[in-house]
């Protein structure tokens, strides 16, 4: 191999890449929280809804978990303008990732809902708790603890999945690296560096999520 690595050229782009990493995190955050809201609604519909609502939620989950997220984003980005709705690429990517995440999170949340022990709820009831108090002190903490590990994993997947934004020229980490590389031709160095940044991002995210889990929800997750 007679390739000469020139990391200096890549490293010079570090500030640009780091601000792109922020966009990556932003995408992942927005998609995650939006998806979590959809997930709560979807899981509520699937667990407690009537037949029509249940079927609707199931159809949503089946559709979005059985087609590529990329396709879903394409659909939103190129499809919506056909109906007269013009949206910026960033929003389209967030929406696509959000809808996709919502489907997976519906299933994750549902597993949490189902795991609530009826006896624990009855105990709360006999102690005189109102519905709101039961939800707040018994049901939500229980669900949070049960699904926390899956949520944390899913967030990491979203950080990586946000790289799809590159295709729609959203300036997140991968897209920015592609843009710079087409100018300076240091593809290998650039992507090695970007790989390291992704690892750093997911590492920091994993560690902080594990710490939050341990102290807030008593989840005994190994940090590694």
């Amino acid at each position: 191999m007679n390739y000469t690595f020139q990391f200096g050229v890549a490293l010079a782009q570090l500030p640009v890449l780091l601000s792109a990493a922020l966009v990556t995190l932003e995408l992942a955050f927005l998609a995650f929280w939006g998806g979590a809201l959809i997930g709560v609604a979807g899981a509520t519909a699937k667990t407690y809804g009537g037949p029509a609502l249940r079927r609707l939620a199931s159809a949503y989950v089946v559709f979005f978990t059985n087609t590529p997220a990329l396709l879903q984003i394409y659909f939103i980005y190129y499809g919506l303008p056909e109906f007269g709705v013009l949206i910026p690429a960033f929003i389209a990517v967030v929406l696509g990732l959000m809808l996709n995440a919502g489907a997976y999170l519906t299933e994750i949340m549902r597993a949490g809902f189902i795991s609530v022990r009826r006896q624990e709820v009855e105990a709360a009831e006999t102690l005189g708790m109102s519905l709101f108090q039961m939800v707040r002190y018994v049901i939500v903490p229980h669900i949070a603890k049960t699904i926390y590990p899956s949520l944390a994993n899913f967030f990491i997947l979203l950080v990586l999945g946000s790289s799809m934004g590159a295709i729609f020229s959203v300036n997140e980490l991968t897209g920015t690296a592609i843009d710079i590389s087409t100018e300076n031709y240091r593809w290998l160095e650039m992507f090695l560096l970007v790989g390291v940044i992704y690892i750093a991002l997911t590492f920091i995210a994993s560690v902080s999520l594990a710490l939050i889990g341990r102290f807030a929800f008593r989840v005994k997750a190994k940090v590694f």
């Binding site: 009855e122 105990a123 005189g128 002190y137 903490p141 008593r218």
Partner: protein, 245 residues
């Protein structure tokens, strides 16, 4: 006047008539023990009393006041006066021992936390768990969890304590620590309605024994009467079977 008065209580699950016509009274400071074969409706009776399962007919009175189980406000006052401990403890898994015991008085009764905590620590000492304030339920043995459940019920200062087979989920060597706790409560004059299969224990603490079968009270009397000289055939058969084990 009777402290707790149950008259012609009925309850059904769909078509299944689980309680047919239960009448029963408990005086203040009395320890009444409910016995009877599996499926006879003992747990259902306690559930109805606590407002977990709606009665289909009959009446429950506390200190002469009729309880309307259709009104949530009324059910709330019932839950302030009576507390229940279940066979499976049913502790809140996401809270440590102290929080399990203090959550209801602090969040529901809105009593000041320092006062409630002092109370809780005293109660936990009484059930022998002073060293476990910050343990979580999954770090405790069954017997310890059951004692926490009793402490949690006591923290609300109930007038009547309902205990549903609180020792049947426990390993034999853990049964006594829980029974000791209940003995202590009986000695303190706590009014209790106890469902139990521990016949020796019932004989010792109960002031009265009520035998249920098939959703009905079929015999009641002092422990000596029920265990040594039951009058009905069904009671004799059940007591005989249980005492032989």
């Amino acid at each position: 006047m009777h402290h707790l008065e149950i008259a012609s209580l009925g309850c059904r699950y769909g078509k299944l008539e689980v309680l047919r016509n239960v009448s029963l009274t408990v005086a203040k400071g009395e320890v009444v023990s409910l016995i009877g074969p599996s499926g006879s409706g003992k747990s259902t009776l306690l559930r109805v009393l606590m407002g977990l399962t709606p009665p289909t007919r009959g009446e429950v009175k506390i200190d002469g006041e009729t309880i309307d189980y259709g009104s949530s406000r009324c059910v709330r006052t019932v839950r302030e006066r009576m507390a229940i401990v279940f066979q499976q403890y049913n502790l809140f898994q996401n809270m440590d021992v102290l929080r399990n015991v203090t959550i209801a008085p602090v969040k529901i009764k809105r009593r000041p936390r320092p006062e409630v905590e002092a109370d809780a620590k005293r109660i936990l000492a009484k059930v022998g768990l002073s060293d476990k304030h910050h343990a979580y339920p999954d770090e405790l043995s069954g017997g310890q969890q059951q004692r926490v459940a009793i402490a949690r019920a006591l923290a609300l200062k109930p007038e009547i304590l309902l205990l549903d087979e609180v020792t049947s989920a426990l390993d034999p060597e853990l049964v006594n620590e829980v029974l000791d706790t209940i003995r202590g409560l009986a000695a303190d004059g706590m009014t209790m309605l106890i469902v139990s299969h521990e016949m020796a224990f019932v004989r010792e603490v109960a002031s009265r024994v009520v035998m249920m079968d098939n959703g009905q009270v079929i015999e009641e009397g002092s422990p000596r009467q029920i265990f040594d000289a039951p009058t009905s055939e069904r009671c004799r058969e059940f007591v005989g079977k249980i005492l032989r084990h």
